[in-house]
Symmetry: D2
Subunit: 171 residues, 4 copies
């Protein structure tokens, strides 16, 4: 697997998010909303760039592919009981969606945790829309999707916080 | 170390929180605020009981003792640089306070993550007071304390969510 | 969902492990192997009891159900690319199996981490057998199963370590 | 804080490890031992470079500074009871050392978890020496140090695994 392949997987990941109704611009807007209070000059382009960098990471791609796959297989009735009902109802005691999301949040360290929890609770922008769709469309399953989107936005925000302080988080 | 010792350590932990300006009733009020929307009949006594159960866990006691000790040693100028400045300024890129808190949140599973992040961001009740004190008192260090209090409240809330569904999380 | 339901889910979880070739006695033997050096009087019955207590926890059940479901859906060719190949080949850079397992290990605190890593690396007993099967049977996918079994054994060992010191980890 | 400062903190971190009896070459040897079975051409220089990259990360520096500080303050009798005894005896039920180490391991994703657990259990090379010193010298406290060294080696190994597959984990 070479560098090209990794970029290919990013393209597949972005396309999959799009199919589920989430654009990278939607996520960039969440990042701007979270960070503009701290960095008044922050632009939407910088937020979008940060989202793309997060999506370049293999750990992040794997978590997104796995979570959305579980949502889609539940919609297609390919998951057995009792897991099917747990996923279909977004059972509040099912924590695997949070665990998968944590592996996204953590790619820029634990400082993303607060923003993740906040987004997951308040559900602004696209996260609210995903949640409404889940409640309105009878057969729609977005148990993993909303947490995943919050996690990407939280990680992209943490990356900006690190960058502003000119820290080589790279490599 | 017998069961009595564990209860002793809980008493020491509660006393240490008290010394730092946080009562278990303050934490119970955060729990009630978080959960009353879901369980209208929930009482302050039940929230207090849940906080006490969380504080009975060794993993929780250890995280609290370690975090508050670091706050206090920083106040006493016993920590060397560069860590001293990082802790004194509650550097936003220092994530060890979040990591320690995560070990508290997780005692009732990952479902507490959302509430932890929310409390840490919005800083209601006692968490806001701790934060104000940090900003007003020149020599006061509460880098760990505010996250620890949010984590205890989030764990106690997760415990209530599990209990209401009559699940033997015990043992 | 009442207490009975939770016990039902434990029975379903045990049956699913059995279908994948793992008995709770196999896991109890791993626990005995890990702990007998520290507790010479430890019996196989006590280890089995500890495994059953771990399997009673909802967080554990959810991780097992989710992981094994992903293994089985991959075998049935119901997962899309590129995730299908990643799961089929147990790609060493895919870390979601470790993340799910961590949520099992952590139910008795972070002290189980060491035993989990050791079992995952050395692959004694049933874990080695799962791994051999994965390598010999062309269509067999056990990407999640081996980590899950190591995680259950590590958690059951951590529980014994807590119990011996008479600590109320319950509740 | 600029890029220079971050490199400064790395130098301080390396010096602190050295004061506690651990050189970066010692850690590089652990990495070589872990990885040479998979990559026969791997050199000690490449392992050393990977260790240095890990030590460049702020999250890693913070965990090391915090953990070693707690070891040293315990030696100096500056920690109150009951935490002092817990740290002095490296109480097997104290898990904060594992938690701090996890934040180091995770900088290159969860794939480092297995190597961390293995090193922590088998204690090869410098990790064994640290442990022996802990047991022989009456006043020596290395409760955090051994886990921290295992975690740095595990993270550096994970970094090599990612690199060999030419993945841009950077940034």
């Amino acid at each position: 697997m070479d560098k090209g392949q990794n970029t290919d997987n990013r393209a597949i990941t972005i396309k999959l998010l799009q199919q589920r109704g989430v654009s990278i611009e939607d996520i960039a807007r969440l990042v701007l909303e979270l960070q503009k209070g701290y960095y008044p000059d922050l632009t939407c382009e910088e937020c979008l760039d940060s989202v793309l960098r997060v999506l370049n990471k293999r750990e992040v791609q794997n978590a997104i592919l796995t979570g959305i796959t579980l949502d889609m297989l539940t919609e297609k009735n390919l998951i057995d009981e009792p897991l099917a009902s747990i996923l279909r109802n977004d059972d509040s005691l099912y924590g695997i969606d949070e665990i998968l999301s944590l592996s996204i949040v953590n790619v820029y360290g634990s400082i993303g945790l607060t923003n993740f929890g906040y987004l997951d609770k308040v559900k602004p922008g696209i996260i609210g829309s995903i949640n409404d769709k889940k409640n309105s469309a009878k057969n729609r399953v977005n148990t993993f999707l909303d947490d995943i989107v919050a996690a990407i936005a939280a990680a992209a925000s943490a990356r900006i916080a690190h960058r502003v302080r000119a820290v080589p988080t790279d490599d």
